[in-house]
């Protein structure tokens, strides 16, 4: 089979067309099955990828203070205490939080930065390299800029502080968040400005971010901190991952039943094929043998036939899943994989990320199985005496 025999290929192709109805059915089921499986894998792997990306930009451990169940400011003295814990290599007071902009009913995410401190997020790092912010200047995302425009703020903006007074800042520049939709309402400003807006004292912040040298120690260090600060919420990187993963939702009946039906039908096809050929199909093999084809030639043609059909279905299924997930963003079924709030609150988005190993797995589970189910019964018939055709 080193060189493609185009005559046999054409014969195989015409054979498929000659049994149109049956083969259309097979292609439909095959395609549906591949499309369903691939959709599942596309959605999960691109979400997983997105999770990993987000986690990568997170600090190792984040500590937030709570008072009476409400988020509260945290003092720098706490940071100094935490820095004494063995294994903690660095830490900083963070000043960030949500800001509700009533006129447009939007929630902005304010991030306080310090030009002399290390930043985690590569996007923020780039922006800070480009712009030097004074205490009366802010950087806003495109989306925030649009919202502010709608409220007639073009050059400057007024934040309302907790005591009701205004904090006037000028909008220095706007930036594009690209695929980082979770940052679409981001506003960047100096830490002191953010402190003013949120009403924190000079030594206070909204939380503490710690770096840990050995990632295996994340868990033990987190529990030490919990003992030390019983009122604080301590979130380590791996806990964050777990929390996000809980948002996945695989157990939907709709998907499962569609999947089971397709799988079931696929196995019926395989069973039906493996169980033997129709008398017409047998006769055709007999004719081919009688006019001088050997067993191998018959199988060669059958191999082409099965490969054409299954490959076509496989590629079609893959294409459908791709368009469905990445171009149409998985309408209907998307909700099956992801909790409603994942896309909205967490701003998750299906960006193209494909894990080839999954595609390979689906390929191996479908195409070779189909080819074998076609070849085996044909081989059985082809090895019989062909004298039936004489009658």
């Amino acid at each position: 089979m080193s060189k493609i025999n185009f005559y046999l290929l054409e014969y195989a192709y015409s054979y498929i067309l000659r049994h149109k109805n049956k083969n259309i059915f097979i292609v439909t089921i095959f395609t549906l099955l591949v499309a369903l499986l691939t959709t599942l894998f596309f959605v999960t792997s691109s979400l997983r990828y997105e999770l990993k990306e987000r986690i990568a930009n997170q600090s190792d451990i984040i500590i937030q203070n709570y008072k009476a169940g409400m988020p509260a400011a945290i003092d720098i003295s706490v940071l100094n205490k935490l820095l004494e814990i063995k294994g903690v290599t660095a830490g900083k007071l963070e000043i960030d939080g949500k800001y509700y902009f009533k006129p447009k009913e939007s929630i902005f995410y304010l991030l306080g930065v310090d030009a002399f401190e290390m930043q985690n997020d590569p996007m923020v790092i780039k922006l800070l390299e480009k712009y030097e912010l004074s205490d009366s200047e802010i950087l806003v995302s495109r989306n925030v800029q649009d919202i502010m425009h709608q409220a007639y703020y073009k050059e400057y903006f007024n934040f309302i502080k907790p005591d009701g007074s205004l904090q006037k800042v000028s909008i220095k520049a706007s930036f594009d968040v690209g695929e980082r939709v979770e940052l679409k309402n981001l506003i960047i400003m100096n830490k002191d400005t953010a402190r003013e807006i949120f009403g924190y004292g000079v030594d206070e912040g909204s939380g503490i971010a710690l770096s840990v040298a050995n990632k295996n120690e994340l868990e033990s260090i987190s529990s030490k901190i919990r003992l030390l600060l019983p009122n604080a919420k301590v979130t380590s990187k791996d806990e964050l991952l777990l929390e996000y993963e809980k948002l996945f939702n695989y157990d939907s009946g709709v998907f499962l039943s569609l999947f089971v039906i397709a799988l079931f039908t696929f196995f019926i096809i395989i069973y039906d094929k493996a169980n033997g050929l129709s008398s017409e199909e047998k006769r055709e093999i007999g004719i081919l043998k009688a006019i001088g084809w050997c067993i191998e030639d018959v199988l060669h043609a059958k191999f082409y036939e099965a490969t054409l059909l299954s490959f076509f279905s496989f590629i079609l299924g893959l294409g459908i899943a791709f368009v469905y997930v990445f171009i149409f963003k998985a309408p209907l079924l998307g909700r099956i994989f992801i909790h409603e709030n994942m896309l909205e609150i967490h701003n998750f988005q299906l960006n193209i990320h494909i894990e080839l190993s999954y595609i390979l797995l689906i390929f191996l589970l479908s195409v070779p199985v189909y080819i074998a189910a076609t070849l085996i019964p044909s081989w059985r018939v082809a090895t019989l005496d062909a004298d039936e055709v004489m009658r």
Partner: protein, 218 residues
């Protein structure tokens, strides 16, 4: 050139299709195998074509023991030496005339040009060239038979086996077929026709008529 030595063919447990038959055909001979339905005519043709193997005895063609060959060899033996005209034509109705005629050569992967030439030649010889790209299902019975004969001759085989070739033809078409046989015979082909059509029994160019009854020679 064709020798059947004490050949028996038993189907299943005890359907004795042929019982201890010995026959010999020489090159260029035209033989008519006659006998009622079930007498074993088709079985003889299958054995010569290597489509089945005898239960006992040997089939020897050109010194080669056909009855002992492996599939791969019987296939090329058939392709190169045997042309079969089946009673039911055994064409593939949804393929074109040309494709049907060339079907035996598909596994050889020859050039398109050579294939076209070969098809053209046999289709012209058997006067069916004007239907070359029609689908076989749209042809009349007589035309289908011409396609079947053309296919049997695509490789200029030395041996032509015809099983009840006129069973589905009217008298006019049957006579035309006989003329085709006369042509082939003049080309020194060895021809074996299994039939119970009386038209064949009195032909001047038939060398021998062999009578079969219950799988035995009469």
């Amino acid at each position: 050139m064709i020798k059947l030595k004490n050949v028996s063919k038993i189907y299943g447990k005890n359907i004795k299709a042929l019982q201890d038959i010995s026959l010999e055909f020489s090159e260029g001979e035209l033989i008519v195998l006659k006998g009622v339905s079930g007498s074993g005519k088709s079985t003889v043709l299958s054995l010569i074509a290597g489509l089945s193997k005898p239960t006992a005895g040997e089939v020897i063609v050109d010194g080669k023991k056909i009855s002992k060959m492996l599939d791969h060899f019987t296939a090329s033996y058939r392709r190169e030496n045997i042309g079969i005209v089946f009673q039911k034509y055994n064409l593939i109705p949804d393929l074109s005339v040309e494709e049907n005629v060339l079907l035996p050569l598909f596994p050889l992967n020859l050039s398109r040009e050579l294939m076209r030439q070969k098809a053209k030649r046999v289709l012209e010889i058997f006067s069916i060239a004007h239907k070359v790209s029609l689908m076989v299902r749209n042809l009349s019975g007589g035309e289908q038979q011409r396609v079947a004969i053309a296919r049997a001759n695509i490789n200029d085989p030395k041996i032509i086996l015809a099983d009840e070739p006129t069973a589905n033809l009217d008298e006019k078409l049957s006579r035309e077929f006989i003329e085709i046989l006369r042509e082939l015979k003049s080309k020194k082909r060895t021809i074996i026709v299994a039939t119970h059509d009386p038209l064949f029994f009195e032909l001047d160019f038939v060398d021998r008529v062999i009578n079969l009854e219950h799988g035995k020679l009469l």
